[in-house]
């Protein structure tokens, strides 16, 4: 059995959960990453890591994943050039990677299909997941429905309200949605609650982690499944322009869409990597999710990384108009990319993101997710800096249908 010509992915595209950065030991990205979890979960994490290491070199697994990406998720997604939008970016050439066109409307489907296949290999019948904007919850519920897995989604009560439409979608897909009412009632508390469920039900359950954060092996596994975004985009940009882009832009909450598009470009020294965090109401107001740009090094949700915390290590609640970026931690590989200087991270305020959201809609007929709008707003600034000869690749990580409630309020529509 071999991978046929023209498949989306090859074994080489799965770099391994223990890879990344200057890996000195497994799961470490420089000083970041590792495992800070109750001992009770160590066997389960070891089991997931071992099974993934087998799966990623198993051609049958890769073919099945490839098949699902093509015939179910709608891959490859196209890249779209957006000249009218780019006029506002100093005329730089702007290309969008259209993850908004995938089934369920966001890049999250890539990771969940991979992990749902892994769940079956692990012999488990139940998946749990946390969700912020609801996109990972919808994607998980979708994969669970497709593969006949029981599915429970933990979602902060505040987020349930902000994203009522996605709650309904998850329920329709057969998932049980549990609103989390403790702490800040957002993504971080949903993750706490999912961990509590996992430690209780670990024999039957896989925690289908939604981002490149958390304890080893999650950051590497989620990255590998999201990496298809960059694998395709790199090829597509080369085909279209004959060269690599000058810069790659992505929004960063936990960081999975960003690592997904950036990772294949890390070795391409001429390609700038830019991540855009949620600046909320502004860095100076304290109401933001500027983990990498304003946070400090600590431990949150099982991993050493940058965290929004006070002087005694208590997590500070984040704020963003976009539920998907409203998280006070970030994946450890981003922490490493920041400290190594390979990637640069910036803040984009709610207002800047909403301007970009409206601009793309009006100039190109594409309504982006508010999360992705942070990357678009960043690309507008970057284009003006780089000048008209530059080519910028932006990860349009999801579509904005889920955000219409927020948009109606924000723009008085």
């Amino acid at each position: 059995m071999s991978i046929s010509e023209g498949t989306l992915i090859t074994p080489a595209d799965f770099t391994g959960a223990g890879s990344g950065g200057d890996v000195s030991e497994r799961g470490k990205f420089g000083v970041f990453g590792g495992r800070y979890v109750p001992e009770a979960l160590i066997p389960a994490l070891d089991e997931v890591a071992a099974e993934y290491e087998k799966a990623r070199t198993d051609l049958a697994f890769i073919r099945e994943f490839d098949h699902l990406l093509r015939t179910y998720a709608g891959r490859p997604t196209t890249i779209t050039e957006v000249p009218r939008f780019a006029e506002q970016a100093g005329g730089a050439r702007m290309l969008l990677k259209r993850e908004d066109l995938t089934h369920t409307g966001a890049h999250k489907i890539n990771n969940v299909l991979g992990q749902a296949l892994l769940t079956k290999r692990l012999g488990k019948s139940r998946v749990i997941a946390e969700t912020g904007a609801g996109q990972h919850g919808v994607a998980t519920a979708t994969a669970a429905a497709l593969m006949g897995l029981e599915c429970v989604i933990y979602m902060g009560a505040v987020d349930c309200e902000r994203q009522a439409l996605n709650v309904a979608r998850m329920k329709l897909l057969g998932a049980r949605v549990v609103p989390v009412t403790n702490g800040s009632q957002t993504l971080k508390d949903a993750i706490n609650e999912a961990f509590r469920d996992w430690v209780t039900n670990v024999d039957s359950t896989h925690y289908l982690f939604g981002t490149v954060a958390g304890p080893y092996p999650f950051p590497g596994i989620v990255r590998d499944f999201a990496r298809i975004i960059g694998v395709e985009a790199r090829r597509q940009v080369l085909e279209l322009t004959g060269k690599l882009p000058d810069a790659v832009c992505a929004a960063v909450g936990g960081g999975s869409n960003a690592i997904g598009i950036m990772h294949v470009f890390i070795e391409d020294e001429g390609v700038q990597l830019h991540g855009y965090e949620a600046g909320g109401r502004g860095a100076e107001t304290g109401e933001h999710a500027l983990t990498l740009t304003q946070g400090s090094i600590g431990v949150l949700h099982g991993s050493r990384t940058y965290v929004l915390q006070d002087d005694e290590g208590q997590t500070i609640e984040s704020h963003s108009i976009s539920a998907g970026l409203d998280y006070p931690g970030v994946g450890p590989e981003h922490a490493w990319l920041k400290d190594s200087g390979r990637a640069t991270y910036h803040g984009i305020t709610d207002a800047e993101a909403m301007d970009a959201f409206a601009l793309l809609a009006r100039t190109e007929g594409i309504i982006p997710a508010i999360e992705s709008s942070h990357a678009l707003a960043g690309a507008l600034k970057l284009g003006r800096d780089l000048g008209p000869d530059a080519t910028i690749l932006v990860n349009l990580s999801g579509r904005g249908d889920k955000d219409m409630g927020t948009a109606m309020k924000y723009f008085n529509l």
Partner: protein
């Protein structure tokens, strides 16, 4: 200052298990926690674990989450935790701090270990610090002369039990079941087996926690473990009490019941 070694020696001489009680600092108030823990000691607790309130307690069930949330709302800081340790240690119990790793990491491992030792604390229990990441903390603790307690769980393999117990001084904390903290109808059936699997590796006593809340359960666990750990059941008494006096009476009553249990 009473050390863990002294406590277990004394309990062994009396042919019983030690009783370990948990309460977070700052709950119901900072002074209220000192008073409640002192009452627990007077009624029979040999060891007190003072919880360091943390914003993201992912190993704790609803009862401890509730108490810790209130403690943080009360503005409890690490200095208050140290003051609580100091107050409770005066009662004669060996006093530890139970904390998630990040507050120590942020405070500075050496500084935390030194301040805890200065306050009369004898060690820490760190439920989310795995042996792989524990090097700096073990060093700092050894320098300050305090114990490091880590957890084993029913899911732990022989290999993991060996690795974890190797890092434990004072005692080994055996989690009785797969789950979060909180009193339950029955103590996990896996607990006795876990203690049995842990013994050959452990140079120090093995205590059992999670799910213990009654005298009968304490007696059951005391039959095979060196110590019985109770947390949520004490907090529940305080949460349900109409006032502080009633709360103190209730925790005293529970401690006495448990102390009788470990002596059966």
């Amino acid at each position: 200052m009473t050390t863990l070694a002294t406590v277990f020696e004394k309990a062994r001489a009396e042919n019983r298990a030690a009783l370990v009680g948990y309460l977070p600092a700052g709950f119901p108030t900072i002074d209220g926690a000192i008073a409640a823990a002192t009452a627990m000691v007077e009624a029979g607790c040999d060891v007190i674990e003072i919880g360091l309130p943390y914003s993201d307690p992912l190993m704790d069930g609803p009862t401890i989450q509730d108490a810790v949330h209130r403690a943080l709302e009360n503005g409890t800081r690490i200095a208050d935790v140290m003051r609580t340790v100091e107050g409770v240690a005066k009662s004669g119990a060996a006093t530890l701090v139970m904390t998630y790793w990040n507050p120590i990491d942020r405070y500075g491992a050496e500084r935390f270990a030194r301040d805890l030792a200065d306050a009369g604390g004898v060690g820490t229990i760190t439920p989310d610090l795995t042996p792989e990441e524990a090097g700096p903390w073990r060093e700092a603790s050894a320098s300050a002369g305090i114990d490091t307690v880590f957890l084993v769980a029913p899911s732990s393999t022989e290999e993991r039990i060996a690795i974890v117990t190797e890092c434990c001084t004072g005692f080994v904390y055996a989690a009785s079941l797969m789950g979060v903290t909180g009193a339950r109808e029955s103590v996990g059936a896996a607990a006795a087996g876990l203690v049995e699997r842990t013994r050959p590796h452990a140079k120090v006593p093995v205590c059992v926690g999670l799910g213990v809340g009654t005298g009968a359960q304490a007696a059951e666990v005391a039959a095979y473990a060196d110590g019985v750990i109770v947390g949520s059941a004490f907090i529940r008494r305080l949460l349900d009490a109409p006032n502080e006096q009633e709360g103190l009476r209730a925790v005293r009553e529970l401690a006495a019941e448990l102390a009788e249990g470990v002596r059966r």
